[in-house]
Symmetry: C2
Amino acid sequence: MQKPIKASAIANANIALVKYWGKRDKKLILPNNSSVSVTLKDLHAHTTVDFSKNYDRDIFILNRREFRVGTEEYEYTELFLSLIRKIAKSKLRAKVVSNNNFPTAAGLASSAAGFAALAAATNEALGLDLNKKKLSMLARRGSGSATRSIYSGFVKWRKGKKEDGTDSYAKQIADAKYWPDFRIIVCITTKEEKKIKSRAGMAQTVATCPVYNGWLRASKDDLKSIERAIAKKDFTLLGKTAERNCLKMHAIMMTTTPPIFYFNKPTIDVMQSVLEWRKEGIECYFSIDASPQVKIICLEENIKKVKEKCKHLKGIKKIIITKPGEGVRIIKKHLF
Amino acid sequence: MQKPIKASAIANANIALVKYWGKRDKKLILPNNSSVSVTLKDLHAHTTVDFSKNYDRDIFILNRREFRVGTEEYEYTELFLSLIRKIAKSKLRAKVVSNNNFPTAAGLASSAAGFAALAAATNEALGLDLNKKKLSMLARRGSGSATRSIYSGFVKWRKGKKEDGTDSYAKQIADAKYWPDFRIIVCITTKEEKKIKSRAGMAQTVATCPVYNGWLRASKDDLKSIERAIAKKDFTLLGKTAERNCLKMHAIMMTTTPPIFYFNKPTIDVMQSVLEWRKEGIECYFSIDASPQVKIICLEENIKKVKEKCKHLKGIKKIIITKPGEGVRIIKKHLF
């Protein structure tokens, strides 16, 4: 009989410069478009998993709160653990404890970090010996954007073409040290959980947005621009492309039936301000995922100015200044 | 020699339920898509024109401010007057004085009301004897949306197909009394002039928006829905269609290069609130033109509740409760 095994991993959140929005396969979590992200140094999930015959069902505790059977959070975790059991040919149930050092479900890629950490921890716990490519494919099954949190620095998630998803995985474009003066300022505008989860929002967009095909076409162009921008360290091209890509994503969400609208008042304030600051000569760009939080991208030379400007904006609860960070890693410290 | 003649007209602003956004001919002001609007009872422009040999150049005074040669406002007015002179075979210069009873250039269709009134006043002053259809075509040359302010109630502007624009004019769908409990609440969120005028914004959208064709396709569907909604007095269909059409327009503006973003913080607040109020059972919808102002559409039965709710929203400078109103009319009261 298999010995019960426990392992812990840390994975960072990531912010997409070219967004992932819409699935071609909901079960396998295969995207309609490729995406590119930056893994964020200071926002992470720390996850411990313990497989043991002591558990008669899976247990999931996130940020000290236990999620019951039937909640979305529990069901997705259980689905993921069942997949792991199938791969590992194990019947052991697991206890999963995960803590984020940033607000959860508020649109800060908590599920990306969480599932990347869970994938790595289960891989370690059950001795699956998956390489990073395989690990990114496994993490994908938990949450699409988790695919990218496996790697450090700048990461591309290739959408792939195959029906079985074996060509849909992440690849590192450049590591965390590649662009030393690259900075991301995370502006937390609310700590409330977002009303519409990405999964539901995407499905609704694919089903009802009249210009979704336009999004897919435009996102191909943005992908090329971002890859060129990273290769050349062309910050202007990167910022402009990321900002426009984000606006396109929000545009397609706004035009679904019923409309999905993630912005709150501070979101708008930061967006309008960033556009103003650029006119004043401070080069910075915004990006917003499926949430009211805003990330400002700038270079180290402007970080003081942007930070000072942010202080005068109402409605920002907290700012976190961060930079490209590490990929997922196994750690010895367990959470229970 | 022609006697100098003076005439005055009043025209109401209008709010589009299916928006006009983008021209197929900039000189003739021919649109890429047909649009439908409601003429608003309580927002109007009062315009007096005086053609006389006493003037050696056109004079344009708007809300007690004289616009000089070279300003956009002066040039568009002068262009329009030159067109009139060509039609009337006159060489007389004119003095135009116009007052709006609502904030100007803040995105409340002041140019629609202004040019509709100017078209009617010049028609009267120079005895052109244009019928309403011709008048709507003339008003169109001043400002696209002015085409619709010629008529009362619910109005359609047919885009037309001809290159010379002779089939691009407004038609009344139903008069102002047709839907007695139809109400529009204009929420003024700023009295500042908008940063990007519609004319420039449209041109930028047509030139750079990657999903502009999707907008044109979707707007055809919305047109059918709105016409059906008006015919059947189906308020839910009308409201939903208008709200989504507005979001689509803002979506295409957001995705131009550079992005055009008209919303301010109160705009977002009203939008989010309207979505909430609907969940609470108060049926109302928002519509936003190329400006931060929000119009809420509801029926008389909900007007008290919506008004009360609006009072608790920060950032609304003023609300005007109005309903479908009259078309352009000649009046005897001159402004000078």
